[in-house]
């Protein structure tokens, strides 16, 4: 795994997968730490990437109708994949089964592969020579690609790239990514103004990303 290649110990790598268990946030944290970011800016970036899980939880809590006492335990499994499977089920019973089976199998697999990956990375030594430093951005690109559905998303992505790269030489590590996150409200704001001035209520395109 990329994290062992960027200076985390075996224990730290496994703790990430066990405790955080939402892939994009894990990669973001590791990437920011590897770039020399402070722990808090690194954690902030990872946190923002995890915010979408709250919206999955919203949909799921209606569908699963879990007792309150069970929710804290179910929460750790609220991620892209479990939501996708659960939303595709026709009945509440199959929704619950789908969520539990996907959650459990992914949790076990994800942590096993993390352990194997970390051990493997240790064994092969110089991970850069094997091109493993390209795995991180490739993972991000693969996560990003299905989100770029409309011009708005592409504008946000473009602005974020400019901010992220443009500010890199001048701001402390980890901070440019957080500034780049402002591309999202900025584009929304501009879009809102344009809609406001043109006064034609083009229907809000609030394509939720649970289609992924």
């Amino acid at each position: 795994m990329t994290s062992a290649g960027s200076g985390l110990t075996l224990l730290q790598t496994c703790a990430l997968s066990l405790l955080v268990f939402t892939g994009a946030s894990q990669f973001a944290l590791v990437g920011a730490l590897a770039a020399g970011g402070s722990p808090l800016t690194a954690a902030a970036g990872a946190f923002f990437l995890g915010v979408r899980n709250a919206f999955y939880g919203l949909r799921l809590s209606q569908l699963l109708a879990l007792p309150r006492a069970v929710r804290p335990f179910a929460a750790q499994w609220v991620i892209d994949e479990t939501t996708a499977v659960a939303l595709a089920q026709p009945t509440r019973r199959s929704t619950r089964i789908g969520f539990a089976v996907t959650g459990l199998s992914l949790y076990v697999l994800w942590n096993l592969t993390t352990l194997l990956g970390a051990l493997g990375a240790k064994a092969i030594g110089d991970t850069d020579a094997w091109g493993l430093d390209a795995a991180g951005p490739a993972v991000f690109l693969a996560l990003l690609a299905p989100m770029l559905k409309t011009a708005t998303e592409r504008a946000v992505a473009g602005l974020a790239v400019l901010l992220g790269l443009g500010l890199l030489p001048v701001l402390p590590a980890g901070v440019p990514v957080l500034v780049a996150a402002l591309a999202a409200p900025a584009v929304l704001f501009l879009e809102g103004r344009r809609r406001h001035t043109s006064r034609n209520d083009a229907h809000e395109n609030d394509a939720p990303e649970e289609a992924r």
Partner: protein, 102 residues
């Protein structure tokens, strides 16, 4: 030690937002603006992270073998390759270019 702080903060934060979705009454998070923003934040973060990890070397911007690797990943995505194949393409091409002295 610093790394543990980051891991702890991330774990707490990520768990809190997952739990919040399950516990918070629907109205609080269902406002269109909040929904839009939460859909766009990952787009901005992932785009910036992709670009940085491709072109950054510390505080400098560089063009090296990773660019070829990412181009391969982008091509694989356009061809609708599965996730692991996309990542593998990036890794193999980057390693290949490096081996040839790129």
């Amino acid at each position: 030690m610093n790394t543990w702080i980051a891991i702890g903060a991330t774990a707490l934060g990520c768990y809190a937002v997952k739990l919040a979705g399950l516990l918070v009454p629907a109205g609080a998070l269902e406002r269109p603006l909040v929904r839009r923003l939460s859909a766009l934040l990952p787009v901005a973060l992932l785009a910036a992270l992709t670009a940085q990890q491709t072109f950054a070397d510390g505080h400098a911007l560089v063009l090296d073998a990773r660019v070829a690797g990412l181009a391969a990943a982008a091509l694989a995505l356009l061809l609708r390759a599965p996730f692991l194949l996309v990542v593998a393409a990036a890794v193999v091409v980057t390693a290949g270019v490096r081996a040839m002295g790129g």
